[in-house]
């Protein structure tokens, strides 16, 4: 039997006002699967996680002063969640659009080698779905006007 992957070392917890609606929508639009859920005796959700491949994302509520849905931040995001797809980004895009996702960046080849798109969910969170189709080189970055380095001490090449 295949051994389940260990939980990743890094898990983003994304904040929603309406967690239940988010769990349903993310499953329908993005194909995330509910992987872990804690409910209390009234059926209220205490904790929920969804998975995609070996990645995990927690779906949280505005549980503290410092956690706010984009709905409470005037639509602003403080991060983007990148989901890497082994394959099938075109189908994924079609599914998201069919589910009513707002497309922030249409599906296209990026200069850094991924074919990707960015969508916005009903509360305004930004999700990027990317499939690597080409491994980018230094030259690809340079051609797009960027330089890369691997530490702050390095002079950008």
């Amino acid at each position: 039997m295949a051994e389940p992957a260990p939980r990743p070392a890094f898990i983003p917890s994304v904040i929603y006002r309406d967690r239940r609606a988010a769990l349903e929508w993310l499953g329908k639009a993005f194909g995330f699967e509910l992987s872990f859920i804690i409910t209390d005796s009234n059926g209220e959700i205490g904790h929920a996680e969804m998975s995609h491949g070996d990645g995990v994302v927690m779906i949280a509520t505005e549980f503290a002063d410092w956690t706010k849905s984009p709905l409470s931040l005037g639509g602003a995001n403080t991060q983007r969640i990148f989901v890497h797809l082994e394959s099938g980004v075109d189908e994924h895009y079609a599914r998201a659009r069919a589910a009513g996702a707002k497309i922030v960046m249409p599906l296209d080849q990026t200069f850094y080698g991924d074919r990707s798109y960015m969508a916005e969910d009903p509360e305004g969170h930004h999700w990027t779905f990317s499939q690597t189709v080409k491994h980018a080189t230094e030259a690809d970055y340079n051609k797009a006007g960027f330089k890369t380095s691997s530490s702050l001490e390095d002079k950008p090449r």
């Binding site: 389940p4 992957a5 260990p6 939980r7 990743p8 070392a9 890094f10 898990i11 983003p12 917890s13 904040i15 699967e33 509910l34 992987s35 872990f36 859920i37 804690i38 409910t39 209390d40 005796s41 998975s51 995609h52 491949g53 070996d54 990645g55 994302v57 927690m58 002063d65 410092w66 956690t67 706010k68 849905s69 931040l73 005037g74 602003a76 995001n77 403080t78 991060q79 983007r80 969640i81 990148f82 989901v83 890497h84 850094y112 080698g113 991924d114 969170h125 690597t132 491994h135 980018a136 080189t137 006007g145 960027f146 330089k147 890369t148 380095s149 691997s150 530490s151 702050l152 950008p156």
Partner: protein, 145 residues
């Protein structure tokens, strides 16, 4: 450059000052940059950081400090105790939101805000055996991870 440590889901956190963030995140949390992408104006537009298998990215944009809240909380999970990590964060000036606390599921975690207000929860997994959840709670693992 697109190699990932089999990480399917990754966050890119926005900072108004990515360069200051890189320095601070290393000093306070021990994250090391592995890739820094700079535009022609010298502004860092994207950087990848990692520590112990945790990989994430930062970018240039609005951050919680300027917005009055964070739309995510980032969990970073260690196999070893986080006491030293906590002390280091405190010394670097991280705003501690919750000190190290034993969670019912066995992890010992603490939460801190970074220099621009992003919220981080660092924890040692399975520090203690998981206790029973609070009364009336029903724990449902759908896919064992």
């Amino acid at each position: 450059m697109n190699e990932q440590n089999n990480v399917d889901i990754q966050a890119e956190l926005s900072y108004r000052d990515p360069k200051a963030a890189l320095e601070w995140l290393e000093r306070a949390f021990g994250f090391e940059p592995t890739l820094i992408v700079t535009g022609s104006d010298g502004v860092i537009v994207h950087a990848r950081l990692e520590m112990g298998g945790a990989v994430f990215a930062i970018g240039h944009g609005q951050s919680p400090a300027s917005l009055g809240g964070a739309s995510s909380q980032i969990h970073v999970r260690f196999k070893t105790p986080v006491d030293a990590h906590y002390e280091r964060a405190v010394k670097a000036g991280a705003k501690i939101l919750e000190g190290p606390t034993q969670q019912f599921y066995g992890d010992i975690t603490y939460a801190a805000a970074d220099l621009e207000g992003h919220v981080w929860r660092f924890g040692q997994i399975d520090a203690k055996p998981a206790a029973a959840p609070p009364e009336g709670w029903n724990v449902n693992v759908i896919r064992a991870r």
